[in-house]
């Protein structure tokens, strides 16, 4: 029983981390229709910047702001410089570009920051909480992570559902030409979409790094499970991303706790395939109903 509780709670914290990453993917997908493989590397890069700041004596929160701010710029920069030229080409090209950015950024980080392990401080405690005599396998920092992810999700849902900006972002992603005819500055929207997504990506990088080890490849495992979570939820839905993330987090936790961690990848595969067989566009995605 205690173990089940432990697995559930640690699965939740881990799921929140997948969710954070998935949110960034969803944001970029919704606003530019690109699956961004560079998301992890971008988050890694800004986390390193935050780490430099912390090492220079900044407070965690100041470093966090620095990371988010530099994420904003990095996202905008990447969209303008390398994504823009391929946006109108074949569908797969932007994906390959993000793959290239991913590889290049990771190598650049190794060159600039070195390939060693570094530790990234956490703003809250890393010791599990206790309720009476029962140990809860969740740390104050874990709660912070979950809270941050929920706030981000709500902000994104609100952005897309209730704001004009959200509508413009989506319209730009779906049909640039028509959007431009309706006065939407599509170029700016795409840049903004990337910038915002990079901010969320930076946040996810920081959340993952907090109280953990950081090295240029530390986001790699997240890319896969974050992507799986986003697809599971339906790439169009922020709430889906969070639910997908938590589902994957919990599933992996149970599977590795009760069956062994070598089955984790398989479990993710089976869950994803099972869901997609029933709902080809994820739990909360909408497949095209009318084809003719």
């Amino acid at each position: 029983m205690q173990q089940f509780l432990d697995l559930t709670l640690s699965g939740l914290s881990q799921g929140a981390i997948y969710a954070a990453f998935a949110l960034a993917l969803v944001l970029i997908w919704r606003s530019t229709r690109v699956v961004n493989f560079a998301q992890g590397a971008m988050g890694m890069f800004t986390t390193y910047l935050a780490l430099l700041a912390v090492d220079a004596g900044w407070s965690y929160w100041a470093a966090l702001l620095l990371a988010l701010g530099s994420g904003l710029l990095l996202g905008a920069f990447i969209e303008r410089v390398v994504i823009r030229p391929v946006e109108n080409g074949p569908e797969l090209n932007p994906v390959i570009v993000t793959l290239g950015v991913f590889i290049a950024l990771q190598a650049l980080a190794s060159l600039l920051f070195g390939a060693q392990y570094r530790s990234f401080p956490a703003p809250f405690g890393l010791t599990g909480l206790q309720a009476g005599s029962v140990n809860l396998a969740i740390t104050p920092y874990g709660l912070f992570t979950i809270g941050a992810v929920l706030v981000t999700m709500i902000a994104l849902v609100a952005l897309f559902r209730f704001t004009d900006l959200g509508l413009r972002l989506r319209a730009s992603a779906f049909n640039g030409e028509v959007s431009r005819l309706l006065g939407v500055p599509v170029g700016r929207m795409l840049t903004l979409g990337w910038a915002l997504a990079a901010v969320v990506g930076s946040l996810s990088g920081l959340l993952i790094a907090g109280g953990e080890l950081v090295w240029p490849a530390y986001m790699d495992p997240l890319i896969v499970y974050g992507f799986v979570a986003a697809v599971l939820g339906g790439l169009d839905s922020p709430a889906g991303a969070v639910i997908g993330g938590v589902a994957i987090g919990l599933a992996l936790s149970y599977v590795s706790g009760y069956a062994g961690s070598e089955f984790a990848g398989l479990a993710a595969l089976l869950i994803l395939v099972a869901v997609l067989l029933v709902r080809p566009a994820g739990l909360f995605g909408r497949a095209t109903v009318r084809k003719v």
Binding site: S10, Q14, Q116, P121, S253, G257
Partner: protein, 426 residues
Amino acid sequence: MVLAGCGAGGRSEDPGGASDVGVTPTSIKVGAHFPLTGVAAPGYSEIPTGTRAYFDWVNANGGVNGRQIEYIFRDDAYTPTQTTQVVNELVLRDQVFAVTGGLGTATHGAVLDFLNSEGVPDLFASSGSLLWNQPEQNPMTFGWQPDYEVEGKILGQYIAQTYPNARVGLLLQDDDFGRDGEVGVRRTLNTQIVSVARYTSGATDITPQVSQLQAQGADLVIGFTVPSYTARSQLAAQQLNYRPQWAYSNVGSDPTLVGGLLQRLSQGQSGPNPLEGVLTTKYLPGPEETNDPWVQLFSQVWAAHGDGGPLTSFRIYGMSEAYTFVQALQAAGPAPTRQGLVDAVERQGGGPDGFRGPAYPPFRYGPDSHAGMAGVAVARLQGGSTVPLTPVRLTDNGDAPITDAPAQERPAPPPQGIPTVVPTGS
């Protein structure tokens, strides 16, 4: 057919023939593969920098038999397919005389067959796998560090003797490292084991594994974990409020690295080094042991030929391996051949009078054994350093008994810091 005439042009001479590929009167070419990029790069990419620094030191002092050691190491990103490619490159294009210190079980395992079939000496693989000790099948390959089984046996025996009532849990990396370690531990501690948890390398979170150990009531956990997972296991335990006695394999217990990392994480919370009191094993001095004459030598070497970074245990490891390699080269005589090098290691490398250097235990090399060091000392992490609890204990794979090594056996470094092995006739 036009091609027939020029057909033989590209072929090199028969491998393993005359003295020899990669050797000139003034130089000798040596290759290695390491993960310099990617997941395994942190830490491991430092090893060849240590090796290179030591070779440079030797070269600056005239080289070996007047030959400068030309050391080429290439990145395999820790993937076997790439190892194959870079080792092909080393052997076929760079025409190295020998390979030394190739890192990783799966990676180096991928080139085992190739190196042996090409007749390239494959000395001192950087991994404690049992694969390197197959003299029949792989006559050119030698291990170097104590294998994980030997380490597990000695650690297990100490725990059985010191904590006879402990309920032992094993936290194992799910590969040869964890498996060989488990085999060793079970040879001396089998009945006390109550739980075994395995994680796959690459897993982001090992809380479930640690939680399993906790649930099954282990109060002493032996971890065969790499450094990053040692740190993660500590974090997970903290999250679970789980406080067993910890013991870690030498691989993952670097107090400076892991302790330092953990300490920075718990910044803001007062507390001792989180690894304080942890059991581990030891076969090389650590960089923090500044009184050790070998560490002093290596500091000098690193100051002279290093890249400016700190002297880490990975670099000491690399230098120590290089030291053994220089010994082997000296033993191979003034006109080294590939076969001659292998023969020399078999002939002169093993036993208390063999290649001795910074490592505490002797090697097991001989005509019938290509296994590396014969044992380890059990130690405790205290005040940021590893304090030996036992003398160096020696054993071999299988049921071989465990014995204490004679005290004060390790020699002091030679004056120039360069070994002086004299080849004996074969």
